[in-house]
Amino acid sequence: MKREKGFTKRNFLKGILAENPLFVSILGTCPALATTKTVEAAIGMGILFTIVLVCSSILVSLLRKIISEEIRTPAYIVIIATFVTIVKMFTNAFLPELYLTLGVFISLIVVNCIVLGRAEAYASKNTVFDSLIDALGMGLGYTLAIITMAVFREILGTGAFSFGKIFTFIPYFKLQIIPKGYEISLFQNPAGAFIVFALILAVIAFIKNRKAELKSNLEKQEKIRKQQEAKMAAESSGGESK
Protein backbone atom coordinates (compact mmCIF):
# COMPACT_ATOMS: atom_id res chain seq x y z
CA MET A 1 0.00 0.00 0.00
CA LYS A 2 1.32 3.40 -0.94
CA ARG A 3 0.94 6.29 1.41
CA GLU A 4 2.05 9.85 1.78
CA LYS A 5 5.18 10.69 3.65
CA GLY A 6 4.69 11.60 7.30
CA PHE A 7 1.27 9.95 7.46
CA THR A 8 1.97 8.23 10.78
CA LYS A 9 3.19 11.43 12.37
CA ARG A 10 0.11 13.35 11.26
CA ASN A 11 -2.12 10.46 12.32
CA PHE A 12 -0.61 10.70 15.80
CA LEU A 13 -0.67 14.50 16.07
CA LYS A 14 -4.23 14.98 14.87
CA GLY A 15 -5.58 13.56 18.14
CA ILE A 16 -3.62 16.11 20.12
CA LEU A 17 -4.48 19.30 18.24
CA ALA A 18 -6.72 19.28 15.18
CA GLU A 19 -9.16 16.62 16.39
CA ASN A 20 -8.67 16.87 20.13
CA PRO A 21 -11.48 14.73 21.57
CA LEU A 22 -12.30 17.04 24.47
CA PHE A 23 -11.74 20.56 23.19
CA VAL A 24 -12.67 20.16 19.53
CA SER A 25 -15.12 17.26 19.39
CA ILE A 26 -16.56 17.94 22.90
CA LEU A 27 -16.68 14.23 23.76
CA GLY A 28 -15.98 12.63 27.12
CA THR A 29 -16.97 15.69 29.08
CA CYS A 30 -18.23 13.84 32.17
CA PRO A 31 -14.86 12.57 33.47
CA ALA A 32 -13.19 15.77 32.25
CA LEU A 33 -15.31 17.80 34.66
CA ALA A 34 -15.50 15.27 37.48
CA THR A 35 -11.91 14.08 37.85
CA THR A 36 -10.02 17.33 37.39
CA LYS A 37 -9.99 18.56 40.98
CA THR A 38 -6.31 17.67 41.26
CA VAL A 39 -3.66 17.19 38.60
CA GLU A 40 -2.82 13.80 40.03
CA ALA A 41 -6.34 12.45 39.61
CA ALA A 42 -6.42 13.83 36.06
CA ILE A 43 -3.15 12.07 35.19
CA GLY A 44 -4.51 8.81 36.64
CA MET A 45 -7.76 9.12 34.71
CA GLY A 46 -5.87 9.94 31.51
CA ILE A 47 -3.61 6.90 31.85
CA LEU A 48 -6.49 4.49 32.53
CA PHE A 49 -8.47 5.98 29.64
CA THR A 50 -5.53 5.67 27.25
CA ILE A 51 -4.92 2.05 28.22
CA VAL A 52 -8.56 1.12 27.55
CA LEU A 53 -8.61 3.06 24.28
CA VAL A 54 -5.39 1.51 22.98
CA CYS A 55 -6.28 -2.07 23.96
CA SER A 56 -9.81 -1.91 22.55
CA SER A 57 -8.62 -0.25 19.33
CA ILE A 58 -6.03 -2.97 18.75
CA LEU A 59 -8.51 -5.78 19.39
CA VAL A 60 -11.26 -4.20 17.28
CA SER A 61 -8.81 -3.68 14.46
CA LEU A 62 -7.56 -7.27 14.71
CA LEU A 63 -11.10 -8.60 14.59
CA ARG A 64 -12.38 -6.21 11.95
CA LYS A 65 -12.66 -8.91 9.29
CA ILE A 66 -14.23 -11.49 11.63
CA ILE A 67 -16.98 -9.42 13.25
CA SER A 68 -19.94 -9.22 10.89
CA GLU A 69 -21.44 -5.86 10.04
CA GLU A 70 -24.72 -6.72 11.74
CA ILE A 71 -23.43 -7.17 15.29
CA ARG A 72 -20.62 -4.64 15.21
CA THR A 73 -21.82 -2.32 17.96
CA PRO A 74 -22.69 -5.09 20.47
CA ALA A 75 -19.30 -6.71 19.92
CA TYR A 76 -17.47 -3.42 20.46
CA ILE A 77 -19.41 -2.68 23.63
CA VAL A 78 -18.52 -6.09 25.06
CA ILE A 79 -14.84 -5.67 24.13
CA ILE A 80 -14.64 -2.24 25.74
CA ALA A 81 -16.50 -3.34 28.87
CA THR A 82 -14.14 -6.29 29.29
CA PHE A 83 -11.04 -4.09 29.09
CA VAL A 84 -12.56 -1.63 31.54
CA THR A 85 -13.19 -4.46 33.99
CA ILE A 86 -9.58 -5.63 33.66
CA VAL A 87 -8.24 -2.09 34.17
CA LYS A 88 -10.56 -1.60 37.13
CA MET A 89 -9.34 -4.75 38.85
CA PHE A 90 -5.67 -3.82 38.27
CA THR A 91 -6.25 -0.34 39.69
CA ASN A 92 -8.03 -1.74 42.70
CA ALA A 93 -5.14 -4.09 43.36
CA PHE A 94 -2.14 -1.85 42.72
CA LEU A 95 -3.32 1.75 43.16
CA PRO A 96 -6.17 1.62 45.70
CA GLU A 97 -5.97 5.38 46.33
CA LEU A 98 -6.57 6.09 42.65
CA TYR A 99 -9.44 3.60 42.65
CA LEU A 100 -11.08 5.38 45.58
CA THR A 101 -10.55 8.86 44.12
CA LEU A 102 -11.94 8.11 40.68
CA GLY A 103 -14.68 5.83 42.03
CA VAL A 104 -17.46 5.15 39.59
CA PHE A 105 -15.73 7.07 36.81
CA ILE A 106 -13.45 4.12 36.08
CA SER A 107 -16.51 2.07 35.19
CA LEU A 108 -17.89 4.98 33.20
CA ILE A 109 -15.04 4.69 30.67
CA VAL A 110 -17.33 2.05 29.10
CA VAL A 111 -19.85 4.68 28.05
CA ASN A 112 -17.25 7.27 27.11
CA CYS A 113 -18.23 8.26 23.57
CA ILE A 114 -14.58 8.59 22.50
CA VAL A 115 -13.75 4.90 22.91
CA LEU A 116 -16.80 3.60 21.05
CA GLY A 117 -16.53 6.43 18.54
CA ARG A 118 -12.90 5.62 17.66
CA ALA A 119 -13.71 1.91 17.43
CA GLU A 120 -16.55 2.54 14.99
CA ALA A 121 -15.06 5.37 13.01
CA TYR A 122 -11.41 4.35 12.81
CA ALA A 123 -10.31 0.98 14.18
CA SER A 124 -13.02 -0.95 12.33
CA LYS A 125 -11.68 0.27 8.98
CA ASN A 126 -7.91 0.52 9.38
CA THR A 127 -4.88 -1.67 10.03
CA VAL A 128 -3.69 -2.56 13.52
CA PHE A 129 -0.69 -0.22 13.39
CA ASP A 130 -2.72 2.78 12.19
CA SER A 131 -5.36 2.13 14.85
CA LEU A 132 -2.69 1.89 17.52
CA ILE A 133 -1.17 5.23 16.50
CA ASP A 134 -4.61 6.83 16.28
CA ALA A 135 -5.59 5.53 19.72
CA LEU A 136 -2.29 6.69 21.25
CA GLY A 137 -2.76 10.15 19.78
CA MET A 138 -6.35 10.41 20.93
CA GLY A 139 -5.52 9.11 24.40
CA LEU A 140 -2.60 11.51 24.79
CA GLY A 141 -4.72 14.39 23.48
CA TYR A 142 -7.45 13.64 25.99
CA THR A 143 -4.97 13.24 28.84
CA LEU A 144 -3.27 16.56 28.04
CA ALA A 145 -6.67 18.25 27.79
CA ILE A 146 -7.86 17.10 31.21
CA ILE A 147 -4.45 17.89 32.74
CA THR A 148 -4.79 21.45 31.39
CA MET A 149 -8.16 21.78 33.11
CA ALA A 150 -6.83 20.27 36.33
CA VAL A 151 -3.83 22.64 36.41
CA PHE A 152 -6.13 25.69 36.39
CA ARG A 153 -8.54 24.18 38.89
CA GLU A 154 -5.89 23.04 41.35
CA ILE A 155 -3.77 26.19 41.30
CA LEU A 156 -6.69 28.60 41.52
CA GLY A 157 -8.71 26.45 43.89
CA THR A 158 -6.12 25.37 46.43
CA GLY A 159 -3.21 27.66 45.65
CA ALA A 160 -0.76 24.76 45.55
CA PHE A 161 0.30 21.68 43.65
CA SER A 162 0.44 18.53 45.71
CA PHE A 163 1.77 15.18 44.59
CA GLY A 164 2.03 11.82 46.27
CA LYS A 165 -1.47 11.49 47.65
CA ILE A 166 -2.73 9.19 44.90
CA PHE A 167 0.47 7.83 43.38
CA THR A 168 1.84 6.76 46.73
CA PHE A 169 5.10 5.45 45.27
CA ILE A 170 6.43 9.00 44.88
CA PRO A 171 7.17 10.92 48.08
CA TYR A 172 4.57 13.50 49.08
CA PHE A 173 5.41 17.10 48.30
CA LYS A 174 3.49 20.34 48.07
CA LEU A 175 4.36 23.38 45.97
CA GLN A 176 2.68 26.57 47.20
CA ILE A 177 2.13 28.93 44.27
CA ILE A 178 -0.54 31.36 45.49
CA PRO A 179 0.00 32.47 49.11
CA LYS A 180 -2.38 30.93 51.64
CA GLY A 181 -5.66 32.77 52.07
CA TYR A 182 -5.72 34.05 48.51
CA GLU A 183 -6.99 30.92 46.78
CA ILE A 184 -10.48 30.88 45.21
CA SER A 185 -12.11 27.73 46.50
CA LEU A 186 -14.93 28.11 43.95
CA PHE A 187 -12.67 26.40 41.41
CA GLN A 188 -12.67 23.21 43.47
CA ASN A 189 -16.50 23.18 43.32
CA PRO A 190 -18.59 21.85 40.41
CA ALA A 191 -19.33 25.42 39.28
CA GLY A 192 -15.60 26.07 38.90
CA ALA A 193 -15.25 23.07 36.60
CA PHE A 194 -17.90 24.46 34.26
CA ILE A 195 -16.30 27.91 34.30
CA VAL A 196 -12.81 26.60 33.49
CA PHE A 197 -14.15 24.45 30.65
CA ALA A 198 -16.16 27.39 29.27
CA LEU A 199 -13.16 29.72 29.36
CA ILE A 200 -10.88 27.20 27.62
CA LEU A 201 -13.48 26.66 24.88
CA ALA A 202 -13.89 30.43 24.53
CA VAL A 203 -10.13 30.91 24.14
CA ILE A 204 -10.07 28.22 21.44
CA ALA A 205 -13.03 29.84 19.66
CA PHE A 206 -11.28 33.22 19.91
CA ILE A 207 -8.11 31.87 18.30
CA LYS A 208 -10.13 30.18 15.56
CA ASN A 209 -12.12 33.35 14.84
CA ARG A 210 -8.92 35.35 14.75
CA LYS A 211 -7.34 32.96 12.25
CA ALA A 212 -10.45 32.96 10.05
CA GLU A 213 -10.52 36.75 10.14
CA LEU A 214 -6.87 37.03 9.16
CA LYS A 215 -7.41 34.57 6.33
CA SER A 216 -10.44 36.39 4.97
CA ASN A 217 -8.59 39.72 5.26
CA LEU A 218 -5.68 38.31 3.29
CA GLU A 219 -8.07 36.99 0.64
CA LYS A 220 -9.77 40.36 0.41
CA GLN A 221 -6.45 42.16 -0.02
CA GLU A 222 -5.44 39.66 -2.67
CA LYS A 223 -8.71 40.25 -4.51
CA ILE A 224 -8.34 44.04 -4.41
CA ARG A 225 -4.75 43.79 -5.59
CA LYS A 226 -5.76 41.56 -8.48
CA GLN A 227 -8.57 43.92 -9.46
CA GLN A 228 -6.20 46.84 -9.40
CA GLU A 229 -3.67 44.94 -11.48
CA ALA A 230 -6.34 44.03 -14.00
CA LYS A 231 -7.44 47.64 -14.13
CA MET A 232 -3.88 48.84 -14.65
CA ALA A 233 -3.32 46.24 -17.34
CA ALA A 234 -6.54 47.24 -19.07
CA GLU A 235 -5.60 50.91 -18.86
CA SER A 236 -2.11 50.36 -20.15
CA SER A 237 -3.32 48.17 -22.99
CA GLY A 238 -6.02 50.71 -23.71
CA GLY A 239 -3.33 53.45 -23.77
CA GLU A 240 -1.21 51.45 -26.17
CA SER A 241 -4.05 50.85 -28.59
CA LYS A 242 -4.73 54.58 -28.72
Partner: protein
Amino acid sequence: MMKILVTFVLAIISSMLIDNVVLSRFYGICPFLGVSKKVKSSLGMGLAVVFVIMLATLICWPLYQLLQLAGIAFMDTVAYILVIASLVQLVGLFIKKYSPTLYKNLGIYLPLITTNCAVLGVVQSNTDQALTFLDSIANALGTSIGFLIVIVLFSCIRVRLESANTPKAFKGLPIALIVAAIMALAFMGLQGLFSGINL
Protein backbone atom coordinates in the same frame (compact mmCIF):
# COMPACT_ATOMS: atom_id res chain seq x y z
CA MET B 1 -43.84 2.53 58.24
CA MET B 2 -44.12 6.29 58.37
CA LYS B 3 -40.41 6.56 59.03
CA ILE B 4 -39.57 4.43 55.98
CA LEU B 5 -41.79 6.59 53.78
CA VAL B 6 -40.21 9.82 55.05
CA THR B 7 -36.70 8.45 54.50
CA PHE B 8 -37.70 7.36 51.00
CA VAL B 9 -39.03 10.79 50.06
CA LEU B 10 -36.05 12.56 51.62
CA ALA B 11 -33.65 10.30 49.69
CA ILE B 12 -35.47 11.13 46.45
CA ILE B 13 -35.36 14.87 47.08
CA SER B 14 -31.74 14.86 48.16
CA SER B 15 -30.53 12.99 45.07
CA MET B 16 -32.79 15.19 42.93
CA LEU B 17 -31.77 18.64 44.15
CA ILE B 18 -28.88 18.64 46.60
CA ASP B 19 -26.68 16.12 44.88
CA ASN B 20 -27.94 16.77 41.36
CA VAL B 21 -26.72 14.35 38.67
CA VAL B 22 -25.57 16.87 36.15
CA LEU B 23 -24.54 19.83 38.25
CA SER B 24 -22.74 18.16 41.10
CA ARG B 25 -22.06 14.54 40.15
CA PHE B 26 -21.31 15.29 36.46
CA TYR B 27 -23.16 12.34 34.95
CA GLY B 28 -24.73 12.83 31.55
CA ILE B 29 -23.03 16.06 30.51
CA CYS B 30 -23.03 15.01 26.83
CA PRO B 31 -26.83 14.98 26.35
CA PHE B 32 -27.07 17.91 28.75
CA LEU B 33 -25.02 20.03 26.36
CA GLY B 34 -26.00 18.31 23.14
CA VAL B 35 -29.77 17.96 23.30
CA SER B 36 -30.76 21.18 25.03
CA LYS B 37 -31.23 23.70 22.27
CA LYS B 38 -34.99 23.19 22.11
CA VAL B 39 -37.32 22.71 25.07
CA LYS B 40 -39.29 20.03 23.26
CA SER B 41 -36.33 17.81 22.44
CA SER B 42 -34.84 18.20 25.92
CA LEU B 43 -38.17 17.17 27.46
CA GLY B 44 -38.26 14.07 25.25
CA MET B 45 -34.69 13.14 26.10
CA GLY B 46 -35.28 13.70 29.82
CA LEU B 47 -38.40 11.53 29.89
CA ALA B 48 -36.66 8.74 27.96
CA VAL B 49 -33.76 8.82 30.44
CA VAL B 50 -36.16 8.64 33.42
CA PHE B 51 -37.81 5.58 31.89
CA VAL B 52 -34.57 3.76 31.06
CA ILE B 53 -32.92 4.52 34.43
CA MET B 54 -35.94 3.21 36.34
CA LEU B 55 -36.14 0.01 34.29
CA ALA B 56 -32.38 -0.56 34.46
CA THR B 57 -32.34 -0.18 38.24
CA LEU B 58 -35.27 -2.54 38.65
CA ILE B 59 -33.44 -5.20 36.61
CA CYS B 60 -29.86 -4.64 37.73
CA TRP B 61 -30.39 -4.86 41.49
CA PRO B 62 -31.67 -8.46 41.39
CA LEU B 63 -29.11 -9.23 38.70
CA TYR B 64 -26.27 -8.16 41.00
CA GLN B 65 -27.55 -10.50 43.72
CA LEU B 66 -27.52 -13.29 41.14
CA LEU B 67 -23.99 -12.39 40.05
CA GLN B 68 -22.85 -12.46 43.68
CA LEU B 69 -24.47 -15.85 44.12
CA ALA B 70 -22.64 -17.13 41.07
CA GLY B 71 -19.38 -15.69 42.37
CA ILE B 72 -18.75 -13.28 39.50
CA ALA B 73 -19.54 -9.97 41.20
CA PHE B 74 -16.54 -8.44 39.41
CA MET B 75 -18.37 -8.77 36.08
CA ASP B 76 -20.96 -6.21 37.19
CA THR B 77 -19.97 -3.48 34.71
CA VAL B 78 -20.14 -5.85 31.73
CA ALA B 79 -23.52 -7.20 32.85
CA TYR B 80 -24.93 -3.71 33.43
CA ILE B 81 -23.89 -2.33 30.08
CA LEU B 82 -25.41 -5.37 28.38
CA VAL B 83 -28.68 -4.87 30.27
CA ILE B 84 -28.80 -1.14 29.53
CA ALA B 85 -27.95 -1.53 25.86
CA SER B 86 -30.53 -4.28 25.32
CA LEU B 87 -33.13 -2.27 27.24
CA VAL B 88 -32.56 0.69 24.96
CA GLN B 89 -32.85 -1.54 21.90
CA LEU B 90 -36.04 -3.19 23.16
CA VAL B 91 -37.66 0.13 24.06
CA GLY B 92 -36.62 1.41 20.64
CA LEU B 93 -38.07 -1.66 18.97
CA PHE B 94 -41.36 -1.17 20.80
CA ILE B 95 -41.55 2.51 19.85
CA LYS B 96 -40.57 1.81 16.26
CA LYS B 97 -43.32 -0.77 15.88
CA TYR B 98 -46.23 0.76 17.77
CA SER B 99 -45.77 4.49 18.04
CA PRO B 100 -44.50 6.38 14.99
CA THR B 101 -45.15 9.76 16.63
CA LEU B 102 -42.96 8.88 19.59
CA TYR B 103 -40.31 7.53 17.24
CA LYS B 104 -40.35 10.75 15.28
CA ASN B 105 -39.54 12.71 18.41
CA LEU B 106 -37.23 10.29 20.22
CA GLY B 107 -35.72 8.11 17.49
CA ILE B 108 -32.60 10.21 17.11
CA TYR B 109 -31.82 10.20 20.83
CA LEU B 110 -32.24 6.49 21.43
CA PRO B 111 -28.64 5.52 20.56
CA LEU B 112 -27.47 8.38 22.78
CA ILE B 113 -29.12 6.91 25.87
CA THR B 114 -26.89 3.81 25.76
CA THR B 115 -23.82 6.00 26.00
CA ASN B 116 -25.39 8.32 28.57
CA CYS B 117 -23.21 8.15 31.66
CA ALA B 118 -26.20 8.88 33.88
CA VAL B 119 -27.76 5.45 33.34
CA LEU B 120 -24.68 3.34 33.99
CA GLY B 121 -23.49 5.82 36.61
CA VAL B 122 -26.62 5.48 38.73
CA VAL B 123 -26.72 1.68 38.50
CA GLN B 124 -23.01 1.33 39.22
CA SER B 125 -23.01 3.74 42.14
CA ASN B 126 -25.99 1.90 43.64
CA THR B 127 -23.84 -1.24 43.57
CA ASP B 128 -20.68 0.47 44.81
CA GLN B 129 -22.50 1.98 47.78
CA ALA B 130 -24.21 -1.37 48.48
CA LEU B 131 -27.65 0.24 48.70
CA THR B 132 -30.76 -1.76 49.54
CA PHE B 133 -33.46 -2.29 46.91
CA LEU B 134 -35.65 0.53 48.28
CA ASP B 135 -32.71 2.95 48.51
CA SER B 136 -31.64 2.06 44.96
CA ILE B 137 -35.11 2.88 43.65
CA ALA B 138 -35.15 6.16 45.59
CA ASN B 139 -31.72 7.05 44.21
CA ALA B 140 -32.75 6.15 40.65
CA LEU B 141 -36.01 8.09 40.85
CA GLY B 142 -34.40 11.16 42.38
CA THR B 143 -31.46 11.14 40.00
CA SER B 144 -33.52 10.71 36.85
CA ILE B 145 -36.10 13.34 37.80
CA GLY B 146 -33.22 15.64 38.73
CA PHE B 147 -31.79 15.12 35.24
CA LEU B 148 -35.18 15.91 33.67
CA ILE B 149 -35.59 19.11 35.71
CA VAL B 150 -32.11 20.38 35.00
CA ILE B 151 -32.09 19.65 31.26
CA VAL B 152 -35.50 21.32 30.79
CA LEU B 153 -34.49 24.38 32.83
CA PHE B 154 -31.22 24.61 30.92
CA SER B 155 -32.93 24.42 27.53
CA CYS B 156 -35.35 27.17 28.57
CA ILE B 157 -32.40 29.42 29.36
CA ARG B 158 -30.60 28.46 26.15
CA VAL B 159 -33.57 29.48 24.02
CA ARG B 160 -33.26 32.95 25.51
CA LEU B 161 -29.49 32.91 25.04
CA GLU B 162 -29.94 32.58 21.27
CA SER B 163 -31.25 36.11 21.05
CA ALA B 164 -28.84 37.55 23.60
CA ASN B 165 -25.90 39.63 22.53
CA THR B 166 -22.89 37.55 23.58
CA PRO B 167 -19.23 38.15 22.72
CA LYS B 168 -18.26 36.35 19.54
CA ALA B 169 -15.86 33.92 21.20
CA PHE B 170 -18.50 32.89 23.75
CA LYS B 171 -21.23 32.13 21.20
CA GLY B 172 -22.69 28.64 21.45
CA LEU B 173 -21.17 26.24 23.95
CA PRO B 174 -18.96 28.48 26.12
CA ILE B 175 -21.80 30.75 27.22
CA ALA B 176 -24.01 27.70 27.78
CA LEU B 177 -21.32 26.29 30.07
CA ILE B 178 -21.20 29.56 31.99
CA VAL B 179 -24.97 29.29 32.43
CA ALA B 180 -24.47 25.74 33.70
CA ALA B 181 -21.89 27.05 36.18
CA ILE B 182 -24.35 29.62 37.52
CA MET B 183 -27.00 26.90 37.79
CA ALA B 184 -24.51 24.74 39.70
CA LEU B 185 -23.92 27.63 42.10
CA ALA B 186 -27.67 27.99 42.58
CA PHE B 187 -28.07 24.28 43.30
CA MET B 188 -25.14 24.45 45.72
CA GLY B 189 -27.27 26.82 47.76
CA LEU B 190 -29.66 23.95 48.43
CA GLN B 191 -27.03 22.12 50.49
CA GLY B 192 -28.08 21.89 54.10
CA LEU B 193 -31.74 21.76 53.13
CA PHE B 194 -32.28 18.87 55.52
CA SER B 195 -29.74 19.85 58.14
CA GLY B 196 -32.48 20.51 60.71
CA ILE B 197 -34.25 17.19 60.23
CA ASN B 198 -33.29 14.27 62.44
CA LEU B 199 -34.44 10.78 61.70
